[in-house]
């Protein structure tokens, strides 16, 4: 099967062609952005000094090594996206970011934001920081260094970055929210069985 690759600047057509569960890769500009970055942009209304329109952001805090004349990416994997749920919808509208990459799902508000701003959320497998670092061709810059290594904005040039599993598409379909319903149904059943077994085992004594 052909690798599906998104390239920045990402067009609305490319975003609309993606469905939850699809696997894609990204080439182009990827900027790390976590809790502090979202808070500053949305709650404080301060924009970083870099163009964000039609690029991708990565909920990630990397390990970066200082080298002569710049930085070297050592390990960079996704962090929990749900932490950014509070601000992501407004963030998409304000910045024009088209692809949000992280770990785990995001909620109904972000799904709404993806629909309104024609954007998607995708998952990079967690704990795979070396695979991701190897796909970073260059660290082009750093914004807001005062946030510290994990929270600063790292501006990256990536090549075929992925696999990225689409978890919210531009129609607002939400893979993790759908899974959650299934998991909770299965949980009720599994919990009832487990409890019954354990309670009867304890009662035997």
């Amino acid at each position: 099967m052909m690798k599906k690759i998104l390239t920045t600047p990402i067009s609305d057509e490319a975003i609309k062609s993606l469905k939850v569960g699809d696997i894609v890769y990204l080439s182009g500009t990827l900027v790390t952005c976590r809790d502090e970055g979202h808070r500053r942009i949305i709650a404080e209304g301060i924009m970083p000094k870099l163009p964000m329109d039609r690029i991708a952001i990565f909920h990630a805090g990397p390990i970066v090594k200082d080298v002569e004349g710049g930085w070297e990416m050592v390990s960079i994997g996704p962090t929990t996206s749900m932490r950014m749920e509070r601000y992501e919808k407004e963030f998409l509208a304000k910045t024009g970011v088209k692809l949000v990459i992280g770990k785990g799902g995001m909620g109904a508000k972000t799904a709404e934001g993806c629909k309104e701003s024609t954007a998607v959320h995708a998952v990079f497998p967690g704990g795979c920081g070396v695979v991701a670092a190897e796909q970073v061709e260059k660290i082009e810059g750093k914004e807001w260094p005062e946030f510290g290594m994990p929270e600063a904005f790292w501006i990256l040039k990536v090549k075929e970055f992925g696999p990225l599993i689409i978890s919210i598409d531009a129609e607002g379909n939400n893979l993790f929210e759908a899974n959650k319903v299934t998991f909770h149904e299965r949980k009720d059943e599994a919990l009832a069985k487990t409890s019954k077994h354990i309670v009867s085992m304890i009662a035997k004594s």
């Binding site: 569960g21 696997i23 990630a60 805090g61 990397p62 390990i63 090594k65 050592v74 390990s75 960079i76 994997g77 962090t79 929990t80 996206s81 749900m82 770990k103 785990g104 799902g105 998952v123 497998p125 967690g126 704990g127 795979c128 920081g129 070396v130 695979v131 991701a132 670092a133 190897e134 510290g148 290594m149 994990p150 696999p163 599993i165 893979l175 993790f176 899974n179 959650k180 299934t182 998991f183 909770h184 299965r186 949980k187 059943e189 599994a190 919990l191 069985k193 487990t194 409890s195 077994h197 354990i198 309670v199 085992m201 304890i202 004594s205």
Partner: protein
Amino acid sequence: MFVLDQKEMMTQTLGKFVDLVSKELPDDVMAKLKELRVQEEQPLAKAIYDVMFENMDKAKKLSRPTCQDTGVIQYFVRTGAKFPYLGQLREILKEATILATKSAPLRLNAVEVFDEVNTGTNVGTDVPYITWDIVDDSTNVEIEVYQAGGGCSLPGRSIVLPPLAGYEGAMQFVFDTVVNWGINACPPLIVGIGIGTCSNSSALLSKKAMLRPVGTHNPHPKAAEMERTIEKGLNDIGLGPQGISGKNSVMAVHIEGMAHHPSVLGVGVTIGCWANRHGVIRFDEHMNYEIVSHKGATL
């Protein structure tokens, strides 16, 4: 030849060990992940296992931390009362953390409390976090290092239930915690459960349970049966790797317990992610050491 003193030797050895633990998963975790990978049938879940194994290969080959979140470093010290460097061990562990932070390198994760400023060194007030147990009268010490990222620390919690809630209430707490919070903690998970008498004893027992080698069971037959039953129950939910859904949810469920006050039942839950970076090293009084968790590894 320049001869290092014993304290310096231990510091350097431990520094290298913390570095190693950030880059190679311990034998027990590796063995279990291989087993679970084979069982997986769903294409998306299989694709994720492929990336996980590719990542572990690359981390080892390139000598880089397998996950970018190398945690706030935690040490669990199990010592004999006569280990001669006990008084200097806190300083040794702190220095070893600084060494590994530079050599690995580890991510700078220590944010100073109240000031909320990154210390830039991975050490700070009471960090590295150290738990001390005097286990016997010997001259040996066993040190376990654990690198828990934020994602798998987030679900950890403890609760103190009234006695009538019983083990049924405890199970509700465990299952709710895993399903509501475990998805973002990078499954397949290691679930540690502590049955104690207050919030801190239950929480600490659950952490110690989580760190027990995968594939071992609590020596109490009822606790071992609980472990198997809960593991089966959680796997039936099928969180799959990264919570994307799949065959399994967990690598293991471990339970530790203590006698408790009759009017309370404390329950603690600690979650470990698939990239479970823990390691055990044992020293004698002459600084001879043995790596328990990573057979064949050299420092």
